[in-house]
């Protein structure tokens, strides 16, 4: 990064509410995010775009304050130099070449023309547009336009990258490549906020997420952190073992599980499912049992590790169904 970040806090929202007339954008969001990579997750119409627009200063909150890197993003060109934004909509000029467009946007940040063109070329190469960068944008396919938008967002080497559905329209090759670009940035110390409703896109890039629905911020953190805080939710562990009955007896007598179930999966293999709230103790005990009783445990899966299951649980709780 150009300037090392002195701000430990990336984003601060203080009771932010945004209303469009009667229509709700976001509803009383309070949030303090440290530097790092965050996924912004939520159903359609949940307020993801509103939140991102508040971050980039394009919307003024009806109530509350927004602080990005310690400053108010509204009408703040200084701050905008540190933020890169890849929007969801298509706002590309059609007759210009991709490279020139990225260079033009760079010039708006105050970079001189020659440097801007060089830097634009670099960034277009990074996003895999080396072949297409000198063709007019009207010629581009959807995937190429997405890549160009990403190039423009990273061109001025921002501290914070804000991306609104950056991978939509990309084929699997493109997704893998762009995910790699984002992971490299994170590894090099950049922060990013990635809004998407496709969980795998977020999981591929970062562990930490923000869940928003109906304009309200439901939860934030890693899947594990969130899960630990949700009471009344045991974690389900699936085990393939050669002596499932013995193992289930051991687990129950040690009092480490709410319930166990012995069954078969689709291919007929015997499966043991353990629902436990003491994952740490269970994980510590399991190797001991394996050693003592000579068990063969060849498969162990924690059903709730995926963002999908956590999302489902959270939404159920949110609606009062659990």
């Amino acid at each position: 990064m150009n300037e090392p970040s002195t701000q430990p806090v990336l984003i601060e929202f203080e009771s932010v509410t945004k209303l469009y007339g009667k229509v709700l954008g976001v509803n009383d969001i309070s949030l303090t995010l440290p530097q790092g990579a965050w996924g912004l997750l939520g159903p359609n119409g949940a307020g993801k775009s509103t939140l991102l627009n508040l971050l980039t200063g394009q919307l003024l909150p009806t109530r509350g304050t927004v602080r990005v890197l310690g400053q108010d993003p509204r009408n703040n060109p200084e701050l905008m130099r540190k933020i890169g934004y890849c929007p969801g909509f298509e706002g590309l000029y059609s007759s210009v070449t991709g490279r020139k467009w990225v260079a033009f946007l760079l010039e708006m940040h105050g970079v001189r023309r020659r440097e801007a063109l060089e830097r634009a070329e670099e960034c277009m190469a990074v996003v895999g547009m080396r072949d297409g960068m000198n063709r007019p944008i009207s010629n581009y396919s959807r995937g190429m336009r997405q890549r160009t938008k990403i190039a423009q967002a990273i061109a001025h080497d921002p501290q914070l990258l804000i991306l609104d559905e950056p991978l939509s329209g990309l084929d699997p090759v493109g997704r893998a490549e762009m995910t790699e670009v984002l992971r490299t940035r994170i590894a090099n110390g950049g922060s990013l906020i990635l809004a998407s409703h496709v969980l795998h896109e977020i999981e591929a890039v970062t562990d930490s997420f923000l869940l928003i629905s109906g304009g309200r911020l439901l939860a934030s953190g890693t899947a594990e952190e969130v899960h630990e805080l949700l009471f009344d939710l045991p974690i389900e562990v699936q085990i393939r073992c050669d002596q499932p009955e013995r193992l289930s007896g051991l687990v129950m007598s040690a009092g480490l599980a709410d319930h166990v179930s012995l069954g078969r999966d689709q291919s007929g293999t015997r499966l043991l499912k353990v629902a436990t709230r003491q994952t740490a103790d269970f994980s510590a005990q399991l190797p001991k049992w394996i050693a003592e009783h000579n068990l063969q445990v060849n498969e162990l899966k924690t059903a709730d590790d995926s963002l999908q299951t956590l999302f489902n649980s959270l939404m159920k709780i949110h609606r009062g169904e659990r």
């Binding site: 995937g143 084929d171 090759v173 740490a280 394996i290 000579n294 060849n298 963002l307 999302f311 489902n312």
Partner: protein, 309 residues
């Protein structure tokens, strides 16, 4: 008898060759149709539906010739487009009714059947509202409903889950599975979202540069060439890697907390547990390694690019 048989199809748009001597057979079950953008997937679908005529080659869909009997094909096939298309000025239920009527249903029967299908697609009272007031997810459900209302034998779904949020996506995939396993429909899904393919498809077809690069059962594709376990730890895997190496077990480190342990699982697994317990690191998961579909896809596309250059 295979449901779709295509032989040496070629389609040129002027000097641009969209499909190049493509041959493909599709049987019952759920087939995932993958490919990079511009590979010819949409053109292929249009040729199958008889919407564009191919420059050369022939084919049969559900036993009907794609050139001569396209009206018959379209009666028995349901197509869900990727684009956000709708019939202007109609409500949800009216759209489905029109869709059924265009497939030769009688008016009242079309309406009745429309309601039934919208129930299956999880659409409630919003079916009486104008389509233009719908969100992306609802429009997608509506397009899906319009594709299945006439009870087709073959479904071609283009990006069925792309605009949907996680809950809706799960439901949509569930419905697709029900239609295939319980109702015996053949389904072709074109998508870029590989995890969807992994969940739902029986078979994968990859199209690149206008040709079929790969056509294989998903299970076969995901089998690892040699047996191995992917072990993920709650902590650093380095010490365990070293101790396993000392036991002469081949180990590959995937990332800081994940190892791939090669060898028969009956032998390797106890050693992994011992090593983890000795290093006081808890195991988060152990699963038999699967080749990720992403790797397969990238490899297939890479091979095509190499072959063409």
């Amino acid at each position: 008898m295979p449901l779709i048989e295509l032989h040496n199809l070629t389609k040129d748009y002027g000097s641009f060759r969209a499909i190049d001597k493509l041959s493909l057979t599709v049987d019952n079950g759920i087939t995932g149709l993958l490919g990079p953008n511009g590979a010819g997937k949409s053109t292929l679908i249009k040729v199958m539906l008889g919407l564009v005529s191919c420059t050369s080659g022939n084919g049969k869909v559900l036993g009907h010739d794609i050139v001569a009997e396209c009206a018959d094909i379209r009666t028995r096939v349901g197509y869900m487009p990727e684009d956000d298309c709708y019939l202007h000025g109609l409500s949800g239920i009216e759209s489905v009714q029109v869709a059924a009527q265009l497939s030769r249903f009688q008016a009242t029967e079309a309406l009745r059947r429309g309601h039934e299908i919208l129930d299956f697609c999880g659409m409630g009272q919003e079916r009486y509202r104008n389509v233009e007031t719908y969100s992306t997810g609802m429009r997608q459900k509506l397009r899906f409903a319009m594709a299945i209302v006439h009870d087709p034998e073959l479904l071609i779904l283009d990006e069925p889950t792309s605009g949907l949020d996680p809950e809706e996506r799960e439901s949509m995939l569930n419905r697709i599975q029900i239609l295939s396993t319980q109702m015996g429909k053949a389904i072709i899904i074109c998508t870029h979202i590989l995890p969807d393919v992994q969940v739902v498809c029986d078979r994968v077809v990859i199209i690149a540069a206008g040709r079929v690069t790969l056509s294989e059962e998903l299970e076969v594709l995901q089998q690892s060439p040699e047996p191995s376990l992917t072990v993920s730890f709650r902590g650093s895997a380095n010490s365990i890697r070293d101790s396993l190496a000392n036991h002469d077990i081949r180990v590959k480190q995937v990332d800081d907390q994940t190892l791939r342990v090669f060898g028969a699982e009956t032998e390797t697994s106890p050693l992994v547990w011992k090593a983890a317990s000795a290093a006081d690191v808890a195991i988060r998961s152990i699963v038999p390694s699967k080749t990720s579909l992403e790797e397969v896809f990238l490899k297939a596309v890479q091979e095509t690019t190499d072959a063409n250059s």
